[in-house]
Amino acid sequence: MCEKLALSEDILMQIEKPERYIGCEYNSVVKDPAKVRVRFAMCFPDVYEIGMSHLGIQILYHMLNDMPDVWCERVYSPWVDLDAIMRQQKIPLFALESQDPVKSFDFLGITVQYEMCYTNILQILDLSGIPLNAAQRGDDCPIVIGGGPCTYNPEPLADFFDLFYIGEGETQYRNLLDLYLECKDRGLDRREFLLRAAAEIPGMYAPAFYEASYREDGTLKSFVPTEERVPRKVRKEIVDHMSEAPYPVKPVVPFIKVTQDRVVLEIQRGCIRGCRFCQAGQIYRPVRERDVKTLQGYARELLKNTGQEEISLSSLSSSDYSGLQELVNFLMEECAGSHTNISLPSLRIDAFSLDVMSKIQDVKKSSLTFAPEAGSQRLRDVINKGLTEEVILNGARLAFEGGWTRVKLYFMLGLPTETLEDIQGIAQLCNKIAALFYETVPKEKRVNGRVQIVASTSFFVPKPFTPFQWAKQCTKEEFLEKAYQTRTAIGSQLNQKSIKYNWHEADASVMEGILARGDRRLCEVIRRVYEKGSVFDAWGEYYDNARWLETMKECGLSPDFYTRERPLDELLPWDFIDCGVSKDFLRREWEKAKREETSENCRVKCQGCGAAGFGCGICAVART
């Protein structure tokens, strides 16, 4: 235990942060390989600090390691310095705990959290010595299985995976592993196992058993199984009773500082809100809460088992959690004597949250965050963001009275139906907030002299399984024009000196959209781009947009085809996945959006999205 190293002293002394590769962290699980039947490598295809901050991996890691016959280990992308050395010296990629080569494992699970990590997936396979194309893998290779939000449209990755697990990992892994062991005992081959998994286990999608055909204009003509036994539609798996689901109360404690350097308490899954651009709001439906009392127990155990000095709540929209006050009060009491910080992301700014925040942070140093996403009420109605100017200004007033002087605002540019007026609305809203500060806080009480408003815009990327999945995505030029208009509009405000404006890169947003709504033909593009040297595309400094565009051209594909508005009757590459939310509901929402009509959230009124079919969470409780 904690003895072996896959990398030599020479290499470890030469690379940045060798701690990324040595394992040995507290709470990492080491088992006797002779006593387990399944070796599982769980991978987050990005650098250690990012991957270690992901809760989903920790959940599955502990769930799998609680099974006596399974040993689950972690794998992350080697950073560019080690990547080069491994290629040059032909060192195979290894898992952290045992330091054994990934290729010798039974399974390689890869979580796919964002589109710009697709080349990193190929890096992982390549460095492991696993053929990139699933079709070329023999019985000496692990079963490569993908999961995570991007696998709700797995098609651009179809060639590279043996299986995709659609939905939440907690439910079917045991069944899958049992089937694997049975097939192994009976001497069945890889193909037979995959076929049975796809046919018998809910949520499993084996791309090899489906065939796509295209029309002359490039659109999808048909998408059908090639094997009788596999389902035409793959339905997502979900946990129906969150409080009984496994929770990683002994998370691995990294030596180095990682992005999420704290323990995380997942209070609920899903979101009641249905903002029309938001994929998470749809694919995790219905919202399911964890019980407050159970969470209190987890919080205590997490802190005791890790020694971490900070605990953070995690959910898409914490303010909507029904037990929030009780939980927060408990945490404040619990943490008061033990020098533990509390962090509460995704809270709505109101009297309650401001009161809590004033108790747990230094008001002078912290900032308020609003995410109106759009500058005008009209456009906020289109996207169904139920945040009004009045609510924002009220929250800001309360905050200014409480001593806050920093405000962060998040917006999106390029949303469907957006006009110049909506963009100017961004600047006007920022200006109003600044004016409100000077109005609310008398001169002698202005802590830092003036208010600091930071407005950030990202570019809207239409995602599968959202009401905007049919929408047109802007081109790079359109995006940049919009950013320029925003900057100009902010510059012409009275309080422009108090407003700082940041915007995202446009190149990567366009490519993200292409991959998000892409089809199988993009597999070839991803493979070629990778072979030309692309990796870590999510890291601005390594992203080579020209290379992506040139490769698309080589493959006879055009970006415009993927960013165009899609007609309602078009067969979409992800239509064979059933995420619980019906296409009919998404279409209704898309039409309502165009009429600037809003929809109530799940707590106020059920919109009949289809997720009630799961028979759990908010759909199954009576509304008040």
Binding site: C2, E3, L5, D10, M13, E19, I22
Partner: protein, 256 residues
């Protein structure tokens, strides 16, 4: 009250940098339920200091950290409170960062960092990395002639460029023992001597060169200067300062 904890560092965790070792112990101390004192303010931190930072990749048999505690843990059966602290740290620790001992420091003891004056090391050649021309039997003679020099100037990389420093006054002992070197040298913040730098100088004195990563260095202990009986000063291990509180009457009776 201040407690000094001695720990080892070996195995893969040798590659953890000094700052991360500090972060590791901050968490380990919390897991172990040690009643450590925090500073006041919005971002309180534990009152904890470390003696001479150890370079990445080096092993050590004698590392030290001082912590301020409000109280000592209740002694477990057969152990002192200090021993209990050590046991608890190891119960919630990783292999390779093992606590060895804990001692209560006298009120007037200097802090671990500031009081360090010297450190001892053992240094071996790695498998296959003996310098060309090296001869164990000739080691003593080489060292003798090396130390006989009045000055040992070497170039040292500093923040402000390359500087020449004289190693000779900081070498307190250098000898060859069976299969490796033993070294006692200056480890104070102003005059710290890196074993690799010194060994390079020794080999170049003998007309040899050292390959990269040719040495496996283990720090054996860290010392401070203390007055000895006859008016001279000697090196005292940081681990010898302070005391382990005596085992209580009841515990003594329990012992056979």
């Amino acid at each position: 009250m201040k407690v000094r904890i001695k720990f080892r560092k070996y195995g893969p965790v040798r590659f953890i940098g000094h700052l991360d070792v500090m972060r590791y112990f901050q968490k380990a101390v919390r897991r172990a339920g040690i009643d450590v004192v925090y500073t006041a303010g919005y971002s309180p931190h534990q009152i904890m200091t470390f003696a001479a930072p150890l370079g990445v990749g080096l092993a050590s048999e004698g590392e030290y950290m001082d912590i301020q505690v409000n109280s000592l843990p209740e002694a477990e059966e057969g152990l002192t409170s200090c021993g209990t602290m050590v046991k608890r740290l190891n119960d919630v620790g990783v292999r390779g960062l093992d606590a060895v001992s804990a001692r209560i420091l006298p009120e007037n003891a200097g802090n671990a960092m500031a009081s360090v004056t010297a450190a001892s090391y053992t240094v071996r050649f790695r498998e296959g990395r003996r310098p060309k021309g090296w001869d164990d039997a000739a080691a003593d003679r080489l060292i003798e002639s090396f130390l006989a020099q009045a000055e040992i100037p070497v170039e040292k990389q500093t923040k402000n460029g390359v500087r020449t420093v004289d190693l000779r006054p900081g070498i307190y002992e250098l000898s060859w023992r069976l299969d490796g070197f033993f070294l006692l040298a200056d480890a104070s913040s102003g005059g710290n001597i890196k074993p690799v730098l010194l060994l390079e100088a020794l080999l170049s004195h003998g007309g040899m060169t050292l390959e990269e990563n040719a040495l496996f260095v283990t720090r054996q202990d860290v010392y401070t200067r203390a007055a000895s009986g006859n008016g001279t000063e000697t090196f005292v291990s940081l681990g010898e300062i302070g005391f382990e509180e005596p085992v209580t009457q009841a515990e003594q009776e329990r012992k056979p």
